[in-house]
Symmetry: C2
Subunit: 205 residues, 2 copies
C-alpha cells in the first residue's frame, strides 16, 4: 500500500498552521513544505497550486463542526436553556484548545475578509449554526418581531462570542495580564448568557 494520503495530510496541517498565522500572502510555500517535511514541489504535485492548497486547508478547518450544534433538544426544553447551551457550545468550539488553534484562526480570517474559500464555508458551517440560533430566538421574542430585528438580536449574541476570538490580543492588552485569567471559556459563557438573557427578557415590552 502506498502512503498516498500521508504527505498530503501533513501538507494540509502545515498549511493550516502557516496560513492561519500569516495569511495567504504571508504564508510561503517553502515554509509549509519545510514544516511538513516534504519536497518543495509537493504543493503543486498534490494540490495544483498554492491557492487550492489554501482552500483545502480552510475547508478542513471547518469540517466536523456544525453537526454538534444541530442536535435536537427535548420538545419541552425552555428556550432560555437552549440559548445557554448554544452559547456554551459555540464558545467551546471557538476556544477549544484541544483541536489545533489554527482551525478557528483561519476561519476568522475568512469571516473578516472572504476569499474564494468563503462560499463553501458559509453554506456548510455558518448558515446551519445561525439557523439554530434564530430558531431559539423565534421562541423567545414576541411573535410579531420583524425578521431583521431577530437577526440583530442573534448578531448581538454571536458578536460577544466572536469578539474574544477575533480581538483577543487587544482585549488582553486592555484588561491586563492578571485580570485576563478570568476570561476563560466557563466565565465568558456564563457572562454572555446572563447578559443576553437579561437583554432579551427586557426586550419584549
Amino acid at each position: 500500500m502506498t502512503l498516498l494520503e500521508d504527505p498530503r495530510r501533513r501538507l494540509l496541517d502545515a498549511a493550516g498552521e502557516v496560513f492561519a498565522e500569516k495569511g495567504f500572502n504571508g504564508g510561503k510555500v517553502r515554509e509549509i513544505c519545510l514544516r511538513a517535511n516534504v519536497n518543495g514541489a509537493s504543493v503543486n504535485y498534490y494540490f495544483g497550486d498554492k491557492e487550492r492548497l489554501y482552500i483545502e486547508a480552510v475547508k478542513q478547518a471547518a469540517c466536523g463542526l456544525p453537526e454538534e450544534q444541530v442536535r435536537q433538544w427535548p420538545a419541552d426544553t425552555p428556550p432560555a436553556v437552549k440559548l445557554r447551551e448554544f452559547i456554551r457550545t459555540m464558545l467551546a468550539h471557538l476556544m477549544n484548545a484541544a483541536k489545533p488553534a489554527w482551525h478557528t484562526r483561519i476561519m476568522m480570517r475568512e469571516l473578516a475578509q472572504p476569499t474564494s474559500a468563503c462560499a463553501e464555508l458559509v453554506r456548510d458551517y455558518i448558515a446551519p449554526t445561525a439557523n439554530v440560533l434564530f430558531a431559539i430566538l423565534g421562541e423567545m421574542l414576541p411573535p410579531k418581531t420583524p425578521r431583521w430585528k431577530r437577526y440583530m438580536c442573534g448578531f448581538s449574541i454571536v458578536s460577544q462570542c466572536l469578539y474574544y476570538v477575533q480581538n483577543k490580543p487587544i482585549a488582553r492588552l486592555l484588561v491586563g495580564e492578571e485580570d485576563f485569567k478570568w476570561f476563560d471559556e466557563a466565565h465568558l459563557a456564563e457572562h454572555i448568557t446572563q447578559f443576553s438573557l437579561a437583554a432579551l427578557k427586557r426586550n419584549d415590552e
Copy 2:
C-alpha cells in the same frame, strides 16, 4: 515653494487604500506608487522602507478619532444617556461613509492581527476610548462589581458595534440583501443601546 508634502500625502493615501484591501504582505510597493503617481523609489525616499510606510498609514487612519469621544458631559447626565451617546458615536466612527472606507478597514486588520503598528494604535486611540466606556459602566454597575466583570460588560457592548464592521460580508450574506437595508447606522445604534441597557439593568441583582 517645494511641494514637499504633496507626494508624501498621496503616497500615504494610496498606501492606506492598498494595505486596507490586501494587507501588509498583499499590498505591493509598485502598485502603491502607481496609484499615487510617484516614482517607484519614493517609498524608500520618504519613509525608509515599506514597513514604516505601513505604520504611518495606520496611524493616519486612527488620528483625529478619539478626541470626539473624550468630550465632557454635564455633571448630572444620567449614565444611560452617556452610554447611548457613546454607542452612537462609536458606530458613527466605524460606519462613517464620508471618510475614506480604508480607515476603519486597516484598523480592524490591526485589531485582529496586530503588527508593529499596533502598540501606538492602542495607546493613542483604543485605550482612551475604552476608558470612557469603563467610566460610564462604573456609574451603572453595582459598586462592588469586580474589575474583570466590568471589562466583560464593556466588551459585550463594544463587540456588538465591531461585529458589523468586522463581519459585514457574512452578515449581509446571512440576512439577505432586502432585510440588510435595516442595518444602517441609526437602527443599529438604537438596537445595541436598547439591548445593552436592558442587559445592564437586569445585571445588578
